[in-house]
C-alpha cells in the first residue's frame, strides 16, 4: 500500500493526492496528517487534487473531515487545483464542500493560507481595514 507524502513548507503542510483514494488510504492519510499537524505545529494544510480526475462522494466526505479535524487543531485547510469537470460533478452530486476553502493552484492556496493566518493573528488590524 503506497503512502501519500506530506510535505512541509514553512508552517504549512502540502498533501498532493496523485493516486486513487480508497478507504484504508484515506484513513491512513487522516491519521498521518493529524499527527503531522501537531508534531510540526502547522497552521495550514493544503490538499492538491489537480491529479484527480474522479472525485466521488467518498473523497468529498474525506476532504470535509480533514478540514474539520484541522480546524480543531487550529490549522486552515485549503483544497487546491480542482479540475472543472470535477467541480461540475461535485455540484451535480450536491456536495458543495461548504466547510472547505478552495484555491485555483498551490501558489494562490499558499497566499490564501498566509492571508487567513495573518488576519487571525491580527484581528483588530483586519477589522480596521
Amino acid at each position: 500500500m503506497s503512502e501519500i507524502p506530506i510535505l512541509k513548507i514553512r508552517d504549512c503542510l502540502l498533501v498532493s493526492i496523485q493516486v486513487d483514494m480508497h478507504d484504508r488510504l484515506a484513513m491512513a492519510l487522516q491519521d498521518d496528517l493529524t499527527q503531522r499537524i501537531v508534531a510540526d505545529r502547522a497552521r495550514g494544510v493544503m490538499i492538491d487534487i489537480s491529479a484527480l480526475e474522479i472525485v466521488d462522494s467518498f473523497i468529498g466526505r474525506m476532504l470535509n473531515n480533514i478540514a474539520a479535524m484541522s480546524r480543531v487543531l487550529d490549522a486552515v485547510t485549503v483544497v487546491v487545483g480542482m479540475r472543472p469537470a470535477v467541480a461540475i460533478t461535485l455540484v451535480e452530486l450536491g456536495l458543495a464542500l461548504t466547510g472547505v476553502r478552495t484555491a485555483l493552484n498551490v501558489d494562490k492556496g499558499l497566499a490564501l493560507i498566509r492571508n487567513i493566518i495573518d488576519n487571525s493573528e491580527h484581528p483588530d488590524a483586519h477589522r480596521a481595514g
Binding site: 480542482m82 472543472p84 461540475i88 461535485l90 455540484v91 478552495t102 484555491a103 485555483l104
Partner: protein, 289 residues
C-alpha cells in the same frame, strides 16, 4: 402488370416534350416555380420517373431503382429550404405533375376506361409517395438548419471576457436552460484555470427572467467556481428581477451588485487594486503645496 409499367414508361418517353410544357405551365400557375432552373429540374425528374417506371417498381420508392429520384428530390428540397420556399410551394412541384400526366393518360387510354382508372390509381400512389418524400426531406433540412442555428447561438452567446488581470466577466444573454448552463459553466471554469483568475463577474443584464430554475443554474455555476477556488460576483440585476428573487424566496448566497461597474470596482478592491482619478489627485496635491 409489368407490361403496363412499360407502357407508362414508353408514354412518358413519347410525350416528354408535351408533358414538360404542360407541367411547367401548371407550376407557374400554382406558384410552385422558382424564377430559374425549374425547366432543367423538371426534365431530370421526368428522366428519373421514366427510369423508375421502366424498372417496374410502382409501390415502393425506397428501393434501389428510385435512388436517383430520391437524390434528386433531396437536392431539390434542400435548395428550396435555402431559397426560403414554403412547404406547400415545395410540394406543389411534385403534385402539379399529376395534371399534365393524367391528361396525357386520358388521351392515350381513352378507349379502355378500366385500364385508365387502374393506371391513374397506381400513378397517384407513386406521385403521392414522391411528394411526401419531398416534404419529409424539406422538414429534415429545416430541422438541420434549426439545429445548426441553435449551436451557433450557444457558441455566440457565452463569451468569457477578461476584464482585468485576474478578473473574468461572463455576460449572460438570453434564457438559461440546462444545456446552456452546462456550456456556460464549462467555459467559465476552463477560463478560470487557464487564466488563473480568482474573481468572476456574472452579469445577468441580458437574462430576461429569473425563475427558480434559472436561479438553480446560477447557484450551480457559482458553487462550481467556488469549489475551484474562485469567487463570483453577480451583477446586472434589474429591479423587477430583484423583486422576483425575493418573492420566490430564493437564496443566492452570493455578493450581488446592481451594475457591472459596481461589480468591477468591488473586484478591483478585493484584488488589492485601486482606480485613481488623476485630475483630482493633481488638484489635491496642488492645493496641499
Amino acid at each position: 402488370m409489368p407490361d403496363d409499367n412499360l407502357v407508362i414508361a414508353a408514354l412518358i418517353e413519347k410525350h416528354q416534350q408535351t408533358l414538360l410544357r404542360g407541367w411547367l405551365a401548371v407550376q407557374k400557375r400554382d406558384g410552385g416555380a422558382s424564377d430559374s432552373g425549374d425547366a432543367d429540374l423538371s426534365k431530370r425528374f421526368l428522366d428519373e420517373l421514366r427510369a423508375g417506371t421502366a424498372a417496374g417498381q410502382f409501390n415502393d420508392i425506397t428501393t434501389a431503382e428510385w435512388k436517383g429520384m430520391r437524390d434528386l428530390l433531396e437536392d431539390f428540397s434542400r435548395e428550396r429550404v435555402a431559397q426560403g420556399f414554403t412547404p406547400t410551394q415545395t410540394a406543389i412541384f411534385v403534385f402539379s405533375f399529376k395534371e399534365p400526366l393524367f391528361e396525357m393518360l386520358r388521351r392515350e387510354l381513352a378507349v379502355d376506361a378500366d385500364r385508365l382508372a387502374e393506371q391513374i390509381w397506381s400513378l397517384t400512389r407513386l406521385l403521392d409517395q414522391l411528394g411526401l418524400y419531398t416534404i419529409a426531406c424539406y422538414a429534415r433540412t429545416r430541422e438541420e438548419v434549426i439545429g445548426r442555428q441553435q449551436q451557433e447561438l450557444l457558441e455566440l452567446s457565452t463569451p468569457v471576457v477578461e476584464l482585468w488581470d485576474g478578473i473574468l466577466a461572463l455576460p449572460l444573454i438570453g434564457t438559461l436552460d440546462s444545456a446552456r448552463t452546462q456550456i456556460v459553466m464549462e467555459n467559465l471554469l476552463e477560463r478560470l484555470v487557464s487564466s488563473g483568475s480568482e474573481i468572476a463577474i456574472i452579469d445577468i443584464t441580458g437574462v430576461p427572467t429569473v425563475d427558480t430554475l434559472v436561479a438553480q443554474h446560477l447557484i450551480k455555476t457559482i458553487s462550481a467556481a467556488r469549489l475551484m477556488g474562485a469567487d463570483c460576483i453577480l451583477s446586472g440585476i434589474r429591479p423587477q428581477i430583484a423583486q422576483t428573487i425575493v418573492h420566490l424566496g430564493l437564496e443566492l448566497n452570493v455578493v450581488s451588485k446592481a451594475t457591472m461597474a459596481d461589480a468591477l470596482a468591488l473586484a478591483l478592491r478585493r484584488s488589492g487594486k485601486a482606480v485613481v482619478d488623476r485630475a483630482r489627485t493633481v488638484e489635491t496635491r496642488g492645493s496641499g503645496e
